[in-house]
């Protein structure tokens, strides 16, 4: 089996690879979004803590 025929998916390349692509995108988003937001939150909280307490 060649790489070309693998990518071609028996003529169904568009359907198969779009499916896998969208799945990857959604799963990555749900994984990375909380990480990015947490980093931001931690940065904000750290800034708040450094500021002198009222």
């Amino acid at each position: 089996m060649t790489l070309g025929s693998f990518l071609d998916m028996g003529g169904y390349a568009f359907y198969v690879w779009t499916s896998y692509g969208i799945t990857t995108a959604v799963l990555l988003f749900n994984l990375l979004a909380p990480i990015v937001q947490r980093k931001q939150l931690l940065r904000q909280l750290a800034l708040k803590q450094k500021r002198p307490q009222r």
Binding site: M1, F6, M9, G10, G11, Y12, Y15, V16, T18, S19, Y20, I22, T23, V26, L27, F29, N30, L31, P34, I35, Q37, R38, L41, L42, L45, A46, Q49, K50
Partner: protein, 253 residues
């Protein structure tokens, strides 16, 4: 918690305390990620390369390796959310509230994937992007249920109230899911809708089945990782003024 033996109850309380859970999550995430890759890579290899081409559907059937596990996950996560909701309502456990809320977007994500891949799988079969097939229709309704949970949580300002509301909603939803599912299935046979549920045939070849199961377990592990990440964020948001968060900040800065 009177009917749970004291040591177990103590264990739960310790694990469920936010700082302890946060540290535990950090410890588990790398191991889970390794496990996920160990399942995903052979799953994908088996599904996309090893498994033979289907004599009816050609290679397009390879979409089931994500469609079917995603559909399973969408239901599994909703049921789990209802369980968390029950725990949150009965024992007032904060961690259960956090887990419930953190699960919702992940579950909605899987439902969305199941819908889109179902549509992409169906297009070459049916010649149209959307048919009112029983499974797709149920998934669509499930997506509405998830969106209801997410928007209700977003609309209520007080976080404890929001968690309570969402717990009630998840429990009501989970009672309704089987009713909705069977109504839709019955409605579908009635109107002679098309069905291509490959999974209903018991004669699936073993070389096709193994990658499917691998992918299903891989998705479960992914859910665990994503859930821990989301729960960490939610805990920080809720407890931002607690002492353990301050200690954490001092350590990182």
């Amino acid at each position: 918690m009177s009917f749970i033996p004291a040591p177990i109850s103590r264990f739960f309380h310790r694990t469920a305390s936010p700082p302890h859970f946060y540290a535990l999550a950090n410890r588990f995430i790398p191991w889970l990620t390794v496990l996920f890759l160990l399942l995903l890579i052979p799953g994908l290899y088996g599904g996309l390369i090893m498994a033979p081409t289907d004599y009816q559907q050609g290679d397009s059937y390879r979409i089931i390796y994500i469609h079917v596990p995603a559909a399973w996950m969408s239901l599994f996560i909703y049921v789990l959310m209802a369980v968390m909701g029950g725990i949150a309502l009965i024992w007032r456990m904060k961690l259960a509230e956090v887990m419930l809320i953190s699960s919702a977007p992940i579950g909605a994500g899987f439902t969305f994937i199941a819908l889109v891949t179902g549509s992409l799988w169906g297009k070459p079969m049916w010649g149209t992007w959307w048919v009112w097939d029983a499974r797709l229709t149920s998934e669509l309704i499930l997506l509405f249920l998830y969106l209801g949970v997410i928007s209700l949580h977003g609309a209520i300002e007080d976080k404890r109230n929001a968690a309570r509301a969402v717990s009630i909603l998840a429990l009501v939803g989970v009672v309704n899911i089987p009713i909705i599912h069977y109504s839709v299935e019955w409605w579908n046979t009635l109107h002679q809708g098309p069905t291509v549920s490959k999974m209903d045939k018991p004669s699936i070849h073993i070389s096709m089945l193994i990658p499917l199961l691998l992918m299903a377990v891989a998705f479960k592990v992914y859910y665990a990782i994503a859930l821990l990440q989301a729960a960490k964020l939610e805990l920080l948001k809720r407890e931002s003024s607690a002492q353990w968060v301050k200690n954490l900040l001092e350590k990182t800065v």
